[in-house]
């Protein structure tokens, strides 16, 4: 049933810190997974299918032979149409999805701000969700206690921190998620289409915060459809299409090529900006 070979982060500390390689190195990475296309897979339907010997799984080649490197301190953008494999790539760099073949090396503490954000249990308060998420990510309780105040302050949620997350608006969700991600003091921040959260003021604040992170030689890998955001932030951009890496290079160059490919004009702000 399983097509995924498991992988495991192997931690090797004690290597020479001064002789640092890239922050992220992806080598010939391919990810294939099987997914069930039933909305609600059940034993009952599986037994039913057995009689007809059909299967309800479908193989997805999400990432195909992708190789690239992100040096320390670089902000690398990732563009591509929906379904290009960007999110899958980000998840595998975060160690959530295992490579089917190839290899990923990540040098540093990773913090993720993926599309679904923080808060796995909507019935728990924001505080409980932040703490549980942090503990799962491997932080110690004492560290979390320190960080918690910063997180709450940055998210500007006030009393809402102690209310169940189902009472939050989607903007509040996004703010909390962003606040958690940047306040974990990551060496490498993975951001997946999350910059459009919050109002204009919060957006500005998050951009400032991300620049600060870059100045501290933090590395950022960012997926966005907002070309202006990418132009502002990124040193380089990679473009993915149907699981393959089309191009890696200077921001302007790649964005131009990508825009041309999408057949939208350079100044077509409506289609290229996060609204």
């Amino acid at each position: 049933m399983s097509s995924l070979s498991a992988s495991e982060p192997t931690t090797a500390v004690g290597q020479d810190v001064h002789d640092r390689g890239p922050a992220v190195r992806v080598e010939d990475l391919s990810i294939t997974y099987r997914t069930n296309y039933e909305a609600n897979p059940t034993l009952r339907s599986a037994l039913g299918r057995m009689g007809r010997s059909t299967r309800a799984v479908r193989e997805i080649h999400a990432v195909k032979n992708v190789s690239f490197e992100v040096p320390h301190g670089e902000v690398m953008g990732l563009v591509g149409a929906n379904g290009a494999g960007k999110s899958t790539l980000m998840r595998s760099v975060a160690g959530i999805l295992p490579p089917t073949s190839g290899r990923i090396e990540v040098d540093g503490r990773v913090s993720t701000l993926l599309a679904l954000g923080v808060g796995f249990n909507r019935n728990l308060s924001g505080r409980e969700n932040v703490i549980l998420g942090g503990l799962a990510a491997g932080l110690h309780k004492s560290q979390l206690k320190e960080k918690y105040d910063e997180i709450a302050k940055f998210a500007e949620l006030g009393d809402f921190m102690d209310l169940p997350m189902r009472t939050y608006s989607s903007g509040m969700y996004g703010r909390l998620a962003f606040s958690v991600a940047v306040n974990m003091d990551p060496d490498i921040l993975l951001v997946d289409e999350a910059l459009s959260v919050g109002d204009a003021r919060f957006k500005r604040k998050s951009l400032r915060r991300m620049r600060k992170l870059c100045d501290r030689a933090g590395t950022i890998l960012i997926v966005s459809h907002g070309m202006q955001t990418l132009r502002d932030l990124c040193t380089r951009v990679a473009w993915m299409h149907q699981g393959q890496l089309m191009m890696v290079g200077e921001t302007e160059e790649v964005i131009d090529a990508y825009s041309e490919f999408l057949e939208v004009g350079k100044n077509d702000t409506a289609s290229l900006e996060d609204l």
Binding site: S2, L4, S5, A6, S7, E8, P9, T10, T11, A12, V13, G14, V17, R25, E27, R34, T42, L43, A46, S67, F68, R91, A94, G95, I96, P98, T100, S101, G102, R103, I104, V106, D107, G108, R109, T112, L116, V118, G119, F120, N121, N123, L124, L132, G133, L135, A136, A137, G138, L139, H140, K141, Q143, D185, D187, M246, M247, V248, G249, E253
Partner: protein
């Protein structure tokens, strides 16, 4: 125009730490420099299992997640309802009352000596097992976004459910202690064996919890079948009756039931004031080991797939 990385020399897997001593040094090193750079290498595995040493160390390192998770769950489930924590005690007591009446009626009122104490002890013990398995079934699914967004050993999810059930079990032991004394059952050193018997059942439970919670990811109706299976399983376990009451033609049912040795040891010790037999303990140890190995391997070999199956 397209700048592909040029230094794609194959990296020798020999750079990975495989020496256990070096590993331990690395782990303690990491503990000291928590926020310092870490290095992760993700590679496919041939057999579908991650290196178990590193995996178990990660589980241990993040154990506070399981504690916090079970604390939060308990608080959400009980501490906010009207009767609050009282439910932790009321619920099992009511259960005992119902079964006691039922069995008394069926047996026309002639019950064996110390039947009530036996029923309470065994029912609480079984309730611990079934509660943990029931609760853990939805643990991975319930961790939804956490599983999608964070890399951590997923076994922590079912294990935290077992911990929750254990915390519910502890106050019921106090109730039983009252019943035990009130029934005038023997008190002695043999009661110390409660600890290993509980530990063995906990291990068996953990194995089942991992098995069931992983199965639930693939078949979402497992959690719906489960209460019925666990109910039938209870009737096949010496909970509502003593092992000696079972007619010969049904004895095979107890023989194939992996829970029988746990409950045999439990009631020998509590009802009869005996030291549990070595046979029971060994069988229990065997069942627990098989459950942990099978459940654990099944779960761990599948857990990397959960993120695409949720």
């Amino acid at each position: 125009m397209t700048s592909k990385p040029t230094n794609l020399r194959p990296v020798e897997s020999g750079t990975l730490p495989s020496d256990p001593v070096e590993d331990a040094v690395a782990a303690s090193e990491k503990g000291r420099r928590e926020f310092n750079p870490e290095r992760h290498v993700y590679e496919p595995h041939r057999v579908g299992l991650p290196p178990m040493g590193a995996y178990l160390r990660e589980v241990w390192r993040r154990r506070s997640f399981a504690y916090e998770m079970s604390r939060t769950t308990l608080r959400a489930q009980h501490f906010k309802t009207g009767l609050g924590q009282l439910w932790l005690v009321l619920n099992p007591l009511l259960l005992c009352a119902v079964y006691f009446m039922l069995v008394d009626i069926v047996r026309h009122g002639n019950r064996p000596p110390n039947y009530f104490a036996h029923l309470v002890a065994a029912l609480f013990f079984y309730h611990y097992y079934s509660g943990a398995v029931n609760q853990s079934a939805r643990s991975v699914i319930g961790g939804g976004r956490l599983v999608l967004n964070t890399a951590f050993p997923r076994t922590l999810l079912p294990l935290s459910s077992v911990l929750t059930a254990f915390k519910r079990f502890l106050p019921t032991l106090l109730i039983y202690a009252v019943v035990h004394v009130a029934s005038g059952l023997p008190i002695g050193l043999h009661l110390i064996m409660a600890i290993p018997v509980i530990l063995l059942l906990t291990a068996f439970t953990a194995g089942m919890a991992m098995l069931v919670s992983a199965a639930q990811v693939y078949f979402r109706d497992v959690a719906s079948f489960l209460p019925y299976i666990l109910r039938i399983w209870m009737y096949a376990t010496p909970v509502l009756y003593f092992v000696e009451d079972v007619p010969d033609r049904y004895h095979w049912l107890l023989d194939i039931n992996p829970l029988t040795p746990f409950f045999g040891a439990w009631s020998d010790m509590l009802d009869l004031g005996l030291w549990p037999s070595a046979t029971d303990l060994l069988w229990a140890l065997g069942s627990a080991t098989v459950a942990v190995v099978v459940g654990g391997l099944f779960f761990i070999s599948r857990e990397r797939e959960f993120a695409v199956r949720l």
